[in-house]
């Protein structure tokens, strides 16, 4: 188990390092010089341009700049925004808590609703199963941006229950403003998790060891809890990990749709403004979230299923 943990953390660090290299390198290769952002439409003098390049360390070779940036990142210094002049860390810090709260709300919704749908379909074959299966196959094709517009149209514009954009004051106001964005992202994920849960539980229900438990006179609910659900947990955990990672990516869309001041909106804004230091930092952050989610789900799986632990530590 310990060795598996070390291996996973090593792989995680490698992936992060590689993607940081890709992100930094690709922005370096971008057409047009980054300092042009500073000058906008004005044509700078050669001296002014050289000064700007020096200030941004653009006059140094790529490996040196990458090394400076990387050591800066490791010390919590993410650079300075080229548009606002603020430290990037401050801009990200402001949005991070909002995005994390949004993702957390989405995943709570997904786990509760998705599991409920999957369990209902698995345990009630026939009409309930058919209805839920139809619902899940449709909902996995509803992308967050379509769900956003439908939710805004019904619950914000028609009913006026929730704000169509922006967040209110305090935690209550923030949660109030995040309900619709969370729902918009949850639609697709609920369908996905519902499907995975149904199939995993169905598969376990047919397993022989469940018959053993039944024939020993254990109550049905105990058999369901300690054998069927317990063993179906591994694929469900994987799905939740994948979906959490995907939700971080979906914040790009949904935060823009609802004007939520989080990391996703910051990314899209910075991309539009070509604010490279910010883009670099948020991209790395989102990739990091993605990789951490995947690694975490692998580890939880190993906790849940001792068989994976075995192969993990020997190979």
């Amino acid at each position: 188990m310990g060795r598996l943990l070390v291996r996973r953390l090593g792989g995680l660090a490698t992936t992060l390092l590689l993607s940081s290299l890709v992100i930094f390198g690709s922005l370096y290769l971008a057409p047009g010089s980054p300092e042009n952002v500073l000058f906008g439409n004005r044509m700078p003098t050669a001296a002014a341009r050289a000064a700007a390049r020096h200030r941004l360390h653009l006059d140094q070779p790529l490996p040196v700049r990458y090394w400076d940036w990387l050591t800066g990142v490791l010390h919590g210094d993410l650079g300075t925004s080229m548009v606002t002049g603020q430290p990037v860390a401050d801009r990200i810090g402001a949005g991070l808590s909002t995005t994390v709260l949004l993702v957390a709300m989405t995943m709570v919704l997904v786990v509760v609703v998705g599991l409920a749908m999957g369990l209902a379909a698995a345990l009630l074959p026939g009409r309930v199963d058919a209805a839920v299966s139809t619902l899940t196959s449709v909902s996995v094709t509803v992308p967050p941006f379509v769900a956003s517009t439908l939710l805004i149209s019904v619950f914000a514009v028609r009913m006026g229950w929730f704000p169509a954009s922006g967040l209110g004051e305090g935690l209550g106001g923030r949660i109030d403003g995040l309900v619709l964005p969370a729902c918009a992202m949850a639609v697709l994920s609920c369908g996905f998790l519902g499907r995975v849960t149904r199939n995993a539980v169905r598969e376990q229900l047919e397993r022989e060891h469940v018959q053993t438990a039944l024939v020993r006179g254990l109550p049905r609910l105990v058999v369901l809890r300690t054998h069927v659900l317990r063993n179906a947990l591994a694929p469900i955990v994987t799905a939740v990990g994948l979906l959490t990672a995907g939700t971080f990516a979906s914040t790009l869309v949904v935060e823009s749709a609802f004007a939520v001041p989080g990391i996703g909106q910051l990314t899209i804004q910075s991309v539009a403004q070509k604010d490279f230091p910010v883009v670099q930092a948020v991209a790395l952050l989102l990739v990091g979230a993605f990789v951490v989610c995947n690694a975490a789900s692998d580890l939880v799986q190993a906790v849940v299923d001792p068989r994976l632990r075995e192969t993990g530590s020997t190979s």
Binding site: L29, F145, S153, A249, S256, F290
Partner: protein, 296 residues
């Protein structure tokens, strides 16, 4: 002709056939857009702004009086072209790589698999957003980025399927007869795994459509005046004024198209329809499981 169609319908099942018909209609609309669209998709009459459905405008018109139905019909072109390019490029890159990896095995396979895993770990949407940050918004950078992101999606499945074929006796038999790698993989392995490749390509097409529409919605892929389903959904002005049809119509169309693609893709690659589990349990469960085991 008729029997071929009937045979296809039987293999695809009811939902698969319905999906195929829907997709044919959408593709036909995209191809014949100038003939089918009742109005110019970009020409609006301000007097018709936010007009409801009528004889002249079957689905009403948007905020500057453009006919929504016409925009949907023309929008099918950009909305389908993007994902078609993405899937086409991913297949061209991914399938040969996957076939080579499965054929040679060893370190070639290990390297290819590792690269696939790495790219697979990055969300396609994020990759596309970064690319747009570099090259500016437009369909081309978005398609390029998504093509890269979709290679592992298709190639991982092709690699697994081809590996299964690789170890089957018929491949050894062909190799013993002196056939080379190109001929065996091209003529035999690829043909045998074709249903999986086509099915997964259809599913990937659906996801690519969603991703590209999301990017167009964000203003990062197809640009505003061009009719495109993703662009049409981003009409927040209509939305906030309470006119839902200009936004809902393209939204529903996206969902239906992707639904049809996933259903069809699953059927082609051989997944069983929902409810199959129940029926299987009824019929094919060996009547005497232990005895069947004992027969060995």
């Amino acid at each position: 002709m008729r029997t071929t169609l009937r045979k296809a319908a039987r293999t695809l099942g009811r939902s698969g056939t319905a999906s195929a018909v829907l997709l044919l209609v959408v593709v036909a609309a995209a191809l014949a857009a100038p003939l089918l669209a009742p109005h110019d998709p970009n020409q609006g009459n301000l007097l018709d702004a936010y007009g409801g459905p009528s004889g002249a405008h079957l689905l009403g018109s948007d905020g500057i009086g453009r006919d929504i139905l016409s925009r949907l019909v023309f929008g099918a072109r950009t909305s389908l072209l993007g994902p078609a390019l993405v899937v086409g490029i991913s297949l061209l890159v991914g399938v040969p790589l996957a076939l080579a990896a499965s054929w040679y095995g060893g370190w070639v396979d290990a390297v290819v698999a590792r690269v696939f895993d790495l790219v697979y770990a990055l969300p396609g949407l994020l990759l596309a957003v970064l690319t747009v940050a570099l090259f500016g918004p437009g369909l081309t950078p978005a398609v390029a980025a998504l093509s890269v992101a979709y290679v592992p999606f298709l190639a991982r499945i092709v690699r697994a399927a081809a590996r299964q074929q690789r170890v089957s006796p018929y491949v050894d038999a062909l190799a013993v007869q002196g056939f080379g790698m190109l001929r065996i993989t091209g003529r035999h392995i690829l043909r045998n795994i074709a249903p999986v490749v086509v099915g997964q390509a259809a599913i990937a097409f659906g996801y690519a459509l969603l991703d590209l529409a999301s990017l167009s919605y964000l203003g990062l892929a197809v640009q505003a005046p061009t009719p495109d389903w993703g662009v049409m959904v981003s009409d927040s002005d209509a939305l906030l004024k309470g006119y839902w049809l200009p936004v809902a119509a393209p939204g529903v169309l996206i969902v239906l198209t992707v639904l049809a693609l996933t259903v069809l893709g699953a059927r082609i690659s051989g997944d069983k329809p929902p409810g199959y589990l129940k029926r299987r349990r009824r019929s094919a469960a060996p009547p005497d499981r232990t005895a069947v085991g004992a027969a060995a």
